[in-house]
Amino acid sequence: MNTTYQLVNTGDSRSFPTSHAFLEAASAEGAGLVLIGAEAGVALARVQEVAKRTFVAVELGNECLGVHTGESRGQEGSNVVGFARFRLGQSDPSALIELVRQPQTRAEALAAARAAFEAAGFKVAVCQDFPGRIVNRLIRPYLNAALRRLDEKLATADDLDKTLCLGLGYPEGPISLLERTGLADHHDVTLDLYRALGQEAYAPARRAQVAKLRTAL
């Protein structure tokens, strides 16, 4: 399998804020194409002969891949995949790549993209094209609930964190984690998911709203 790839960096990549083996492994003759940065989706529209690539991987924000590829009758899918390296707020990005596919994504393209990321040391989790992918979809309601229950005095912040660390072996409790990675950032992500999914559990908790408003002061 040919897993070489060209790289187009549109700037301000959340997945790759600094240099990484994955970026260094790119070559001008690569058979695939990786688009990173805040404008990766826009850049996709300018790519010539997309179908001739082994795969095209587009860095995603909180939006769905379909925004960039278009969708039709549940039969969308090509050699274009989406991806994001999971990262909480401004903390260092993790070793996780969430690789986004569509119903008819070509299996060879998915396999080639996966192999390219794995060759750079990433763990790759594949998911379908839904808002929040896997991790944000699961943790944002939990983080909102933790903030809400702190307001309701279920326990002190320290006891909430201590309970989840001691009881479930979490490396960090929710309150400490949000303080470290940024409540305002949590606000932005969970608000995007709330708009996309319409479920109350994603609505930014009061403390996240306060933190967001304070960034404008």
Partner: protein, 291 residues
């Protein structure tokens, strides 16, 4: 410091047996009550087996083992808990059953005896209301397996006196445990967050967002959790998850606490989790596949 010398454990199931180990190991005279002689025999054998492993692993000095076993006293007669300063209830999750037990204990135990419940889903205030001594009643929720997990969620009911709570807290520390204080609301802290989180993960599988193995990988790699939600659910068991959901949703009506339909289908198919060889993952020889 604690004035408590003798602790009663009501119910010699998995939780009760584990809590009894914690008490006896910390040097307290521990009276274990169960209606079934067989449960007591099993709990005592499990205790001895656990302590022997602790000795083998150098966590317990050999001469301590018989001393601890001497502190462990099983009985099928509730009257034998009459000299207990604290009784921790760990019977099945039924409010009428717990009320029946505590009203008998109230007649047997002296005035100063504190009652505690290890319930995970029933309100402490509601259990205390049928105990005859709601002011001397406290929630003490140990984690499974109690003999290994340090965390204890301690909740005062609406009528619990601060003196009672303080005494129970001091006792918990004397047991070598790590107490946290939580309100008497459904699921306390741990289950309040865990049950809906696990349900959300089940819904991702239901909706075809990702395969169980990808969900586990993503959560472990992205969040640094030791175990993914699907692996954890396979250990909990779908039958237990359903009971937890029913208890939590009935009292909170929070949508995330509602039992996902897939859980019922998996129970019907016999996919209970690790114990039945198949849940979200498939198991053989106790080894994990697909994760």
């Amino acid at each position: 410091m604690t004035d408590i010398k003798t602790i009663g454990i009501a119910g010699a199931g998995t939780m009760g047996a584990g809590i009894a180990i914690v008490c006896a190991r910390a040097g307290f005279k521990t009276r274990v009550f169960d209606l079934q002689e067989a449960s007591l025999t099993r709990a005592r054998a499990q205790t001895e087996g656990f302590l022997r492993k602790s000795v083998e692993r150098g966590k317990l000095s050999p001469e301590k083992l018989p001393q601890i076993m001497d502190q462990w006293l099983g009985t099928t007669r509730l009257e034998d808990l009459a000299d207990c300063d604290l009784v921790i209830e760990a019977v099945f999750e039924s409010l009428p059953a717990k009320h029946a037990l505590f009203s008998q204990l109230h007649a047997i135990c002296p005035q100063h005896t504190i009652f505690a419940s290890n319930t995970s889903t029933i309100s402490i205030t509601e259990i205390a209301g049928g105990s005859g001594r709601p002011d001397r009643f406290v929630g003490m929720h140990f984690c499974l397996p109690a003999q290994l997990m340090k965390l204890v969620e301690m909740s005062p009911g609406l009528s619990t006196s601060e003196a009672t709570f303080d005494q129970a807290w001091a006792l918990c520390e004397a047991l070598g445990q790590k107490p946290v204080r939580t309100q008497d609301t459904t699921g306390f802290i741990l289950n309040y967050f865990l049950i809906p989180f696990n349900n959300d993960a089940i819904r991702l599988v239901e909706q075809g967002v990702a395969e169980p193995a990808d969900i586990d990988l993503a959560i472990k790699t992205g969040m640094g959790y030791a175990m993914g939600p699907m692996e954890l659910l396979d250990l909990v068991g779908m039958d237990t998850q359903k009971l937890l959901c029913e208890a939590m949703h009935a009292s909170t009506h929070e949508p995330r606490a509602a039992c996902p339909p897939l859980v019922r289908r998996m129970i019907a198919a016999g996919w209970l989790g690790k114990k039945s060889g198949r849940g979200f993952h498939t198991y053989a020889d106790n080894k994990m596949y697909g994760a």
